[in-house]
């Protein structure tokens, strides 16, 4: 829509026609049509208000002679009044049109009409009439229509919940089952009211309502709207209800996952704890206990990774998600839950089991060697011909990426037999080997490693020394660059000599923004890992935090 300050005349006529067509929204068709147009109508009303608030009532009537008709009709449409903030905007508009000094009978009449409309909207008369019956009872009690409608809506919700639940307890009693048309009808009426807190029990009941039909009972507009409201944190639903929603409506699940990714990629990360918080709040890791949901989310993550060429931020998010998923699965007390390995391909079971072990401080190298050997067997011996198969294995390793960071650390700390661990890292950075890329990477990496290991125990080191050591090896491939960055950063964090020159050296290597993101991600992951393990290495923690501060300021 054109964002003029003046409301385009065309739009006005369009909406007036619509409002006339809808009437009081008594037929199914008109009801569905209203629901479809509610968001745009709200925007339009907002625009009208913005225009009206700068005018007095006379100018307003001159500019929009038909505004009375439009507002009048809309006020009698319960779908419009029930939706989000439309009622607020409508009342503000009416307010603008009220004149404080009516000069002629027309203005007096207009004023009177506005008063009537407001009374219709706010007093405890029936919607259609001005029946005074309940009115006097309520005022005799000393309450207002606000109290009355608050109670009334809660009771209506209760009635509907009882009616809809009717079929759930009488599993075998088919006569008691609520007809599908009734469920559909109720969901339509609820559509404008989704963000009204009183409705939450009804929404939950609807989301768990299946009725045994093979077709979806609830309209996709309804499910979409509920999902939107949940993602924008306008309503809060129980986990069961939201999982129910995602299980029955695939687009909602996809939207939720993409929304999470968008959120995380766009915020300025200050720590992985923050990321973990956001991921946990999204309820997706918990939902992924349902294998169907796990599969869908996985697909979306894989696509995201491929589309961004393996961007480190996306990889980090996937790793955090996987950790939270495993955690949620272990905390889940339900009896019938799938074993963790069931979520991953059965071709890779032994590897999966090894990766699922929580990293521990002792025997880490041994376990990593074990992982590396299994991986090597899978990759080299099996008939991995297609890109897809290779990608699956690579993705498995990548999502449990904490092991890779530990491998880099262990490589430098425990100096015996580096080949297995180096191979692990080489595979991660260079999975394909048709043209011997991985083999080449392995060779180059070994070169860098040999240099670094020599310097590891030096207490005094200069930037030049380190630079010289790195450049001794001729690295042709870009993959090796990434691997080198990984090793170097680990070196700087975990060696005594490296600590001193860390700031300076890192400023040097993060000349390009690519390397900067990589280093950042690694620093975040390391901080997160150290905090989770409760390690007391204060020096390292401080160093990591300092480096991060400097780096994030740069970006």
């Amino acid at each position: 829509m054109a964002q003029d300050t003046a409301v385009p005349k065309l739009n006005f006529e369009y909406w007036l026609d619509k409002a006339t067509e809808w009437g009081q929204a008594t037929t199914l068709e008109s009801q569905k049509d209203v629901c479809r147009h509610l968001p745009q109508l709200q925007e339009f009303l907002q625009q009208i208000y913005e225009t009206l608030k700068h005018m007095n009532s006379i100018e307003a009537i001159q500019q929009f002679p038909l505004i009375g008709q439009l507002l009048g009709r809309l006020c009698w449409n319960p779908f419009v009044i029930g939706y989000d903030e439309s009622q607020k905007t409508l009342m503000w508009c009416l307010c603008c049109l009220y004149s404080s000094e009516p000069q002629n009978p027309v203005e007096l009449k207009a004023n009177s009409w506005i008063r009537s409309l407001l009374c219709h909207l706010l007093s405890s008369s029936k919607w259609e009439s001005n029946e005074a019956g309940t009115n006097t009872f309520i005022s005799a009690l000393g309450y207002t229509s606000a109290d009355y409608y608050s109670h009334l809506v809660k009771n209506m919700v209760l009635s509907l919940v009882t009616e809809l639940k009717g079929n759930q307890f009488n599993g075998l009693n088919i006569q008691e089952r609520v007809p599908a048309s009734r469920v559909s009808e109720v969901s339509l009426f609820c559509l404008p009211l989704i963000t009204l807190p009183d409705l939450t029990p009804l929404l939950e009941t609807l989301l768990l309502c299946h009725g045994g039909a093979s077709q979806e009972l609830l309209s996709s507009e309804f499910l979409d709207a509920v999902n939107e409201a949940f993602l924008k944190k306008k309503i809060s639903l129980s986990e069961t209800a939201i999982f129910g929603l995602w299980l029955r409506h695939l687009p909602s699940l996809e939207k939720a996952t993409l929304y999470l990714l968008d959120q995380l990629v766009s915020i300025q990360m200050t720590s992985l704890e923050e990321v973990a918080c956001v991921v946990k709040d999204s309820l997706l890791p918990q939902a992924a206990s349902h294998p169907a949901i796990f599969r869908v989310v996985d697909e979306i993550f894989k696509n995201a990774l491929l589309e961004t060429d393996g961007a480190p931020e996306v990889m980090t998010i996937i790793q955090v998600f996987t950790q939270l998923f495993v955690q949620a699965h272990q905390n889940n007390n339900k009896q019938h839950k799938f074993p963790l390995k069931a979520y991953f391909s059965r071709h890779h079971q032994p590897l999966v089991i090894a990766l699922l072990r929580r990293p521990f401080s002792t025997h880490c190298s041994q376990h990593l060697k074990h992982i590396s050997e299994m991986l090597k067997t899978l990759v080299e011996d099996e008939s991995i011909r297609s890109f897809v198969d290779l990608f699956e294995i690579w993705f498995l390793i990548a999502r449990f990426g904490e092991w890779l960071d530990i491998a880099a650390e262990q490589l430098l700390k425990a100096s015996a037999e580096p080949d297995a661990l180096l191979w692990l890292l080489a595979f991660y950075y260079s999975p394909q080997n048709e043209n011997q890329q991985r083999t080449q990477t392995m060779v180059e990496a070994r070169g860098v490693y040999d240099q670094l290991v020599m310097l590891f125990s030096c207490t005094v080191l200069s930037v030049k020394d380190l630079q010289a050591a790195v450049h001794k090896t001729d690295t042709k491939q870009s993959c090796t660059q990434h691997l080198t960055t990984h090793l170097l950063t680990s070196f700087l964090l975990f060696s005594s000599g490296g600590h001193m020159i860390a700031q300076e050296f890192i400023s040097h290597i993060t000349g390009t923004s690519d390397a900067s993101k990589e280093v950042c991600s690694l620093l975040f992951r390391t901080a997160y890992r150290i905090n989770r393990n409760g390690e007391r290495n204060q020096r390292t923690v401080k160093l990591v935090n300092d480096l991060l501060q400097k780096l994030t300021l740069k970006v």
Binding site: L94, S99, G133
Partner: protein, 355 residues
């Protein structure tokens, strides 16, 4: 303190004026002042809510010299809404003042104390959308949410009264006052509606009592006046028992002992008036057009009573047995309505046990 009480004593007057034609003389500044007062009263409510003695003092002051419905401390808390909505509906309010009213109630930036009118409008629309499908007029199920809502408000008001009532002192007089007040309230509804609301209220209160929510024995100030009102007039009580379904009456009778004797008496009176038609082999009402139960309905009522808790069941059976004996202790049908009733009831209970 005295000054405060003086101020608070203005509230009833202010509310009364806001509903009357006297507002014709109001201009925008006057209206502004009235709204200021409302905000001030609400502020007082917030301040004194947790201080029982001051609360009681303010409440007492509000009640003094009230011909209409007595106001309580709680009304201070609802002032802005009460005043605002009353003024909105008052057609006598002149345009300038009205505009000021609309601005302060509806415009953005209306302070948090002002009632959320947007929420009110939204809920009213919601009640229109979620209303149960129109059923044949008079069908109780269709009205249920409305009846329950009115019952809940009635109960809330009675509970407020209970909380602010003075412990001890002038018991009898107070009870009479309270009954008159409740009667006045219920007069605002058409009789059948009022009866349903009272039934729903008693039903809900029973739930509250069972959970031990009310510390005082029997929630005397809440259920008490309602029961007194019901039993006050024979006509009213009889209409009550005719209107409501047997199951509801049985559950109320189970919980409220005051209801049992009059209910049984009423059923007895109705039963006694039934005559047996030997040609058609059934009992029927003697006088047509009088508000009474038919044989089937009577049987259903006794059935419900006998499915109640043990005490109720026992009392009902005992009453029926006594009536049967007094009526001649017959064992065959068609001679005494009580014999037949007892037989039917026992038959249906046996059938249930077999299932």
């Amino acid at each position: 303190m005295e000054a405060l009480l003086e101020q608070v004593a203005q509230l009833p007057g202010l509310l009364a004026v806001s509903r009357s034609a006297l507002v014709r003389a109001w201009d925008a500044p006057t209206l502004g002042r009235a709204l200021e007062w409302a905000r001030y009263f609400q502020h007082l409510h917030g301040r004194f809510r947790a201080r029982p003695r001051l609360r009681a003092a303010l409440g007492r002051r509000l009640r003094q010299g009230q011909p209409g419905s007595p106001l309580g401390f709680r009304h201070l808390g609802r002032c802005a809404a009460l005043l605002g909505l009353a003024l909105l509906e008052n057609r006598a309010l002149p345009p300038a003042a009205c505009r000021r009213l609309l601005q302060s109630l509806l415009r953005p930036g209306a302070a948090a104390e002002a009632p959320s009118l947007a929420l009110l409008a939204r809920r009213k629309a919601a009640s229109r959308l979620l209303a149960p499908a129109p059923r044949p007029a008079g069908s109780p199920a269709a009205l249920e949410p409305q009846v329950r809502a009115e019952a809940q408000m009635l109960l809330a008001r009675l509970r407020e009264e209970e909380e602010e009532a003075e412990p001890g002192g002038g018991r009898a007089g107070e009870a009479r006052e309270r009954l008159r007040w409740v009667a006045g309230l219920l007069e605002q509804l058409p009789q059948p509606r009022a009866l349903r609301v009272v039934a729903a209220a008693l039903q809900q209160q029973r739930g509250g009592d069972e959970e031990g929510l009310r510390g005082r024995a029997g929630g005397g100030h809440v259920a008490g006046p309602l029961l007194s009102w019901l039993l006050e007039s024979q006509e009213r009580f009889s209409a009550f028992c005719l209107l409501l379904p047997g199951s509801l009456l049985a559950s109320l009778a189970a919980h409220y002992s005051q209801l049992r004797p009059p209910y049984l008496d009423l059923l007895t009176a109705w039963g006694s008036r039934l005559l047996y038609d030997p040609l058609q082999g059934r009992w029927h009402n003697s006088c047509l057009g009088e508000a009474e139960l038919s044989w089937e309905e009577l049987r259903e009522r006794f059935d419900c009573l006998c499915r109640g808790p043990a005490l109720l069941r026992g009392q009902t059976r005992a009453a029926l047995e006594l009536l049967k004996v007094q009526d001649g202790d017959f064992h065959i049908c068609g001679l005494s309505v009580w014999t037949d009733l007892l037989m039917e009831v026992e038959k249906s209970l046996r059938k249930e046990e077999e299932q």
